[in-house]
C-alpha cells in the first residue's frame, strides 16, 4: 500500500475549480477595467477634437474683427458707405463665432475668460471709437485725429487680447493631446497586462493539470502495462486525492492478483501432490460397498462423482451377524480428496461402532464425539440402518440426511432424520424403528439426487423421487429400484452432474428362503 500524506493531498476537481474561478474573476475585472479605460481614452479624443474645432472658430472671430477695423478705416478715408459692409458682416460673424467658442470652451475657464475679454474690448471699440468716427465722417469730410488715435489704441488692445485667447487655446489643445496620449497608454497597458495574466494563468493551469493528472495517469498506465507483462510495479502516492485513490486501488489490485496467483500456484502444487491420494481414496469409496449375497434379500447401489472430482459421498453395506446387516450413506460437504477422506473416516468409524454393538443413533453420537472437533469438522449428513434379516425390522438413525423411503405395497413410508447434520451443533441422535414386510424395499440416497438441476435451474426435488418410487411395479427388487432412480436422474439433469450421487437399496424379497437358513436369535444392540 502506498504511503499517503494527508497534509499534501487535495482534490484535483477542487483545485482546478479554483483555478477556473480565479481565471474567470480576473477576466471579468480585466474586461471591465479595459472598457472603462478605453472609454476614457475615447472621451479625451472627443474633447481634443472639439477644441481643435474651436481653433477654427477663433480664426473666424479674428477675421471678423479685422474686417470690422478695415471697413471703418476705408469708410473714413473714402466716405463710401459700401466700405461699411465688411464692418456690419464682421459684427454678425463675431457674434456667431463667439457663441460657438463659448460652448466649446465651457470646460476651459482660462480660454473662456480670454474670450469674454475679447468680446468686451470689441464692444468698447465699436461703441466708443468706430461708431463715433463713422458718425463724424457722415457729418463732415474730416474726423478728429485724436478720436482716430484713440480708436487705433483700443483696437491694438483688442488684438493683443486675441493673441492671449489664441495662446490659451493652444495650451488647452496641448493639454488634451497629452491627456489622450496618457489614456491611450493606460488602456493599452491594461489590455496587455490582462492578456498577459490570462496567458500566465493558462500556462500555470496547463502545467498543474499535467503535474496532477497527466503525469500520474501516465505512471498508472505504465504500471498497468507492467502488470499485464507479469511485473508488478508499486505506484507512488500522488498529491491529487482522486489519482491517489486510483493509485491505491491499482496497488491493491496488484496485491490481489499476486495473492490469487500465489494461491493458484499453491493449489496447483497441492493438486499435483494429492492426485495419487485422490485416486486411492476414490477407489476405496466406490469399492467397499457391493451387492450382498443374502438369501431372501437383494441389494444394489449406484454412485457417481461430481464432474472431475472425488466424491464427498460414500456408502457401505455388510453383515454384522448371520441375521443382521447394516447399511450406511455418508455425505460430506464439498468434493475432492479432503472431503472424501472425511467421508471415508466417518464411514469407517460408523461401521466400527455398529460392529461394536452400538445402535445407529449411538454410532452417530459416537462419531460426533470422537471424529474431530466441531469447529474444524466438515458438515456431514448420514443415514445408518441395521436390518434384521429374519424379521425385516429396521433400526435407523439419520443425521440431517434426506429422508429414506420404505417402498411397500401399501405405499411409501418416509424415514425422517433423528437429529441434525453432524458438525453443526452439539447433539445426540436417536434410533427409530420401522418394519419391512416381504416385498418392501428400503431406499437411501444422497442430496445429489433431489438437488440435481435441469436446464431451467429447477431442482428434481423429493416429490419426483417419491412419485417415481410409488410407480414401481410390485415385486421390483433393489437393482430395479436403483436403476429407476438413476434413469430419473439422467432424464432430468442437464449437463454434467455438479454434486455427488449415491443411491442404495435393499429389498426383502423372499421370507421363505430365510427359514432354517438363519439363526433366529438376534444379538442385542447397545446405545452409547
Amino acid at each position: 500500500m502506498s504511503t499517503f500524506t494527508p497534509e499534501r493531498s487535495f482534490s484535483v476537481e477542487r483545485r482546478l475549480g479554483r483555478f477556473v474561478a480565479v481565471s474567470i474573476a480576473v477576466l471579468c475585472v480585466a474586461g471591465v477595467t479595459c472598457v472603462v479605460l478605453f472609454n476614457a481614452w475615447a472621451r479625451a479624443a472627443d474633447d481634443r477634437r472639439e477644441v481643435r474645432s474651436a481653433v477654427d472658430s477663433f480664426g473666424e472671430l479674428s477675421l471678423s474683427l479685422s474686417d470690422q477695423e478695415s471697413g471703418v478705416r476705408g469708410y473714413l478715408l473714402s466716405g463710401d458707405e459700401s466700405f461699411l459692409d465688411p464692418y456690419n458682416a464682421g459684427v454678425a460673424t463675431q457674434i456667431a463665432a463667439t457663441r460657438s467658442l463659448s460652448d466649446v470652451l465651457a470646460r476651459a475657464p482660462v480660454a473662456l475668460a480670454a474670450l469674454q475679454v475679447v468680446n468686451s474690448l470689441a464692444d468698447q471699440w465699436r461703441t466708443s471709437a468706430a461708431e463715433v468716427q463713422i458718425q463724424q465722417r457722415r457729418e463732415s469730410p474730416t474726423v478728429d485725429t485724436a478720436l482716430v488715435a484713440d480708436g487705433k489704441r483700443q483696437f491694438d488692445m483688442l488684438r493683443a487680447q486675441l493673441e492671449t485667447l489664441q495662446a490659451a487655446l493652444n495650451v488647452r489643445v496641448e493639454e488634451l493631446d497629452q491627456r489622450v496620449v496618457n489614456r491611450q497608454r493606460v488602456a493599452v497597458a491594461a489590455l496587455v497586462v490582462s492578456v498577459g495574466f490570462l496567458a500566465v494563468m493558462a500556462i500555470v493551469t496547463g502545467r498543474r493539470f499535467h503535474q496532477w493528472v497527466f503525469q500520474p495517469l501516465k505512471t498508472i498506465g505504465v504500471a498497468a502495462r507492467q502488470v499485464s507483462l507479469g511485473n508488478p510495479m508499486k505506484l507512488p502516492s500522488f498529491q491529487a486525492k482522486e489519482l491517489n485513490d486510483v493509485s491505491e486501488a491499482v496497488n491493491a489490485l496488484q496485491q490481489s492478483l499476486a495473492h490469487e496467483r500465489d494461491n493458484a500456484v499453491r493449489s496447483y502444487e497441492t493438486l499435483q501432490q494429492s492426485a495419487v491420494l485422490a485416486l486411492h481414496v476414490r477407489s476405496q469409496l466406490t469399492t467397499d460397498a457391493d451387492s450382498l449375497d443374502i438369501d431372501g434379500w437383494s441389494t444394489a447401489s449406484a454412485s457417481r462423482s461430481a464432474e472431475g472430482v472425488v466424491a464427498g459421498d460414500c456408502h457401505d453395506m455388510g453383515l454384522l451377524s448371520p441375521t443382521r446387516m447394516y447399511l450406511l450413506v455418508v455425505d460430506v460437504t464439498g468434493h475432492g480428496p479432503l472431503p472424501a477422506l472425511n467421508a471415508l473416516t466417518a464411514k469407517s468409524l460408523l461401521r466400527s461402532g455398529l460392529r461394536a454393538g452400538m445402535t445407529p443413533g449411538g454410532a452417530l453420537t459416537w462419531l460426533s464425539n470422537n471424529a474431530t472437533t466441531e469447529e474444524d469438522m466438515e458438515l456431514l449428513t448420514a443415514f445408518v440402518a441395521v436390518i434384521s434379516l429374519s424379521t425385516g425390522r429396521v433400526q435407523y438413525a439419520s443425521a440431517g440426511h434426506p429422508p429414506a423411503y420404505l417402498v411397500k405395497e401399501s405405499g411409501l413410508e418416509e424415514l425422517n432424520p433423528t437429529g441434525p447434520l453432524l458438525g453443526a451443533f452439539p447433539a445426540t441422535w436417536g434410533t427409530d424403528i420401522a418394519d419391512m414386510p416381504v416385498g418392501a424395499t428400503l431406499v437411501v440416497y444422497s442430496d445429489g439426487l433431489t438437488e440435481v438441476p435441469n436446464e431451467h435451474r429447477i431442482r428434481l426435488g423429493e416429490d419426483a423421487v417419491k412419485s417415481r418410487l410409488s410407480a414401481m411395479p410390485p415385486g421390483s427388487d433393489a437393482r430395479a429400484v436403483v436403476q429407476r432412480l438413476v434413469d430419473l436422474f439422467d432424464e432430468f439433469r442437464s449437463g454434467p452432474p455438479a454434486d455427488d450421487l449415491t443411491i442404495l437399496a435393499v429389498t426383502f424379497s423372499d421370507h421363505d428362503a430365510l427359514v432354517g437358513s438363519r439363526d433366529s436369535v438376534e444379538p442385542g444392540m447397545v446405545g452409547t
Binding site: 455425505d331 460437504t333 464439498g334 466438515e378 458438515l379 449428513t381 443425521a399 440431517g400 440426511h401 434426506p402 429422508p403 425422517n416 432424520p417 437429529g419 441434525p420 447434520l421 453443526a424 451443533f425 447433539a427 442430496d447 438437488e451 435451474r457 431442482r459 423429493e462 454434486d499
Partner: protein, 119 residues
Amino acid sequence: MTDAGELFGIEEIADGLRLTGELDASTCPPVRTQLTPRIQPNGRLKVDLAGVTFIDSSGLRVLIDAHREAEARDGRLILSNPSRVVLRLFEISGLLPHLHIESDGAESATTSDGSSPTD
C-alpha cells in the same frame, strides 16, 4: 449490490443482508465475506432469505458459521422469510431447533415437524 453470478445477488438492507438466487459452493464466498464483518457483539443481524431458491450444504455451512459467531458474541442471527424449499432443507437437516427464523419481522416458533408461518 454485489453479484456472484447472474443467479445470485446480495443486497445490503437496514439491519443486514438480502440474498437472492441460489446459495451454493460457488456463491458462498461473497456471502461469507459480507456476513462476517457485520456480526457485532450483542448485535442482531438479519439475513433475508425470501429470494433464495436453493441452498446446498456449502450454503448451510456459511449460515451455521455465522449463527455460531453471532451466538459466541451474545448476538443473534435472524434468518427471515425463508421459502418452503429452504425451510424444508432446514427441517431435513435438523436445524430448525437451533436457528432463529422469522417471517415478516416476527420471529417464528418453528415446530419439530418444521411447520412455519411461511408454509
